[in-house]
Amino acid sequence: MARAVVTLPAQARRGEIIEIKTLAAHPMETGFRRTQLGELIPRDIIRRFVCTYNGAEVFRVDLHPAVAANPLIAFTTVATESGTIAFQWVGDNGYSVTETASIRVE
């Protein structure tokens, strides 16, 4: 089950730097591990995370197998206007999760 959690303030002053924490539920299988029978477990990771603020991209991360399971990504952005902040995780085997949050800017 694809699931993600995003934490950010519901409202902010204009120009304020807000902190955003995101957590996606994903095993991040590295592709280097083997089963007890010696077979390689195929890679299954989230490859890309993108954060868009009212449609404009503000932050993007390319992830590699060295990122731990259930990847946590914490970053900041400037609260410019009221609207929605969208988060998207894209990965192997057609994994794609989108989460949105709304923010009120005064």
Binding site: R34, V58, D62
Partner: protein
């Protein structure tokens, strides 16, 4: 004349020192050299021939890690983050993981502060390198040494 008691104290001390030095996760030297070369390749792919200077970047990792499967890592870059002067990208590399890349971040002035916190896997006691590319095209870096007692990816033939 050494008494039995003195002998035992010395012997136990020596044994525990040996145990402490081998407690670090270790990969074999040939593989270490290959992986170091892989990291240099990955770094060159990002920076090209441009010089990488130390400073402005702050990479934070705990110095001693019990379990390499989930290690908190944070990178912060000193920058005003204005349209004229901001950080364009941050890359994190490891020296001894099976793959040198960890994360690559693309950001701009709208990020407010140039930084990121995440959790990573570390296969061995090693040096982690963070490189930031600024809007003027210059590269800055910081590295952190970490001691890993229990490695991630033990299945890879690591002891």
């Amino acid at each position: 004349m050494t008494t039995r008691r003195e002998f035992l104290v010395l012997a136990c001390g020596a044994a525990s020192i040996t145990a402490a030095t081998t407690a670090k996760a270790q990969i074999d030297p040939n593989q270490q050299a290959l992986r170091k070369a892989a990291m240099q390749d990955a770094l060159r792919r990002v920076v090209g021939d441009a010089p990488v200077r130390r400073g402005r970047v702050k990479l934070q990792l705990p110095p001693l890690i019990d379990n390499g499967n989930s290690v908190p890592l944070s990178v912060a870059v000193e920058s005003p983050m204005t349209a004229a002067d901001h950080v364009r990208a941050i890359h994190v590399f490891t020296e001894k993981n099976p793959l040198p890349d960890v994360v690559s971040v693309t950001l701009g002035p709208r990020a407010g502060r140039a930084g990121l916190s995440t959790r990573v896997r570390l296969a061995d006691t090693q040096t982690v390198l963070a490189v930031a590319q600024l809007s003027d095209g210059s590269f800055w870096s910081d590295s952190a040494d970490v001691v890993v007692t229990l490695s991630a990816c033990l299945e890879e033939g690591l002891i």
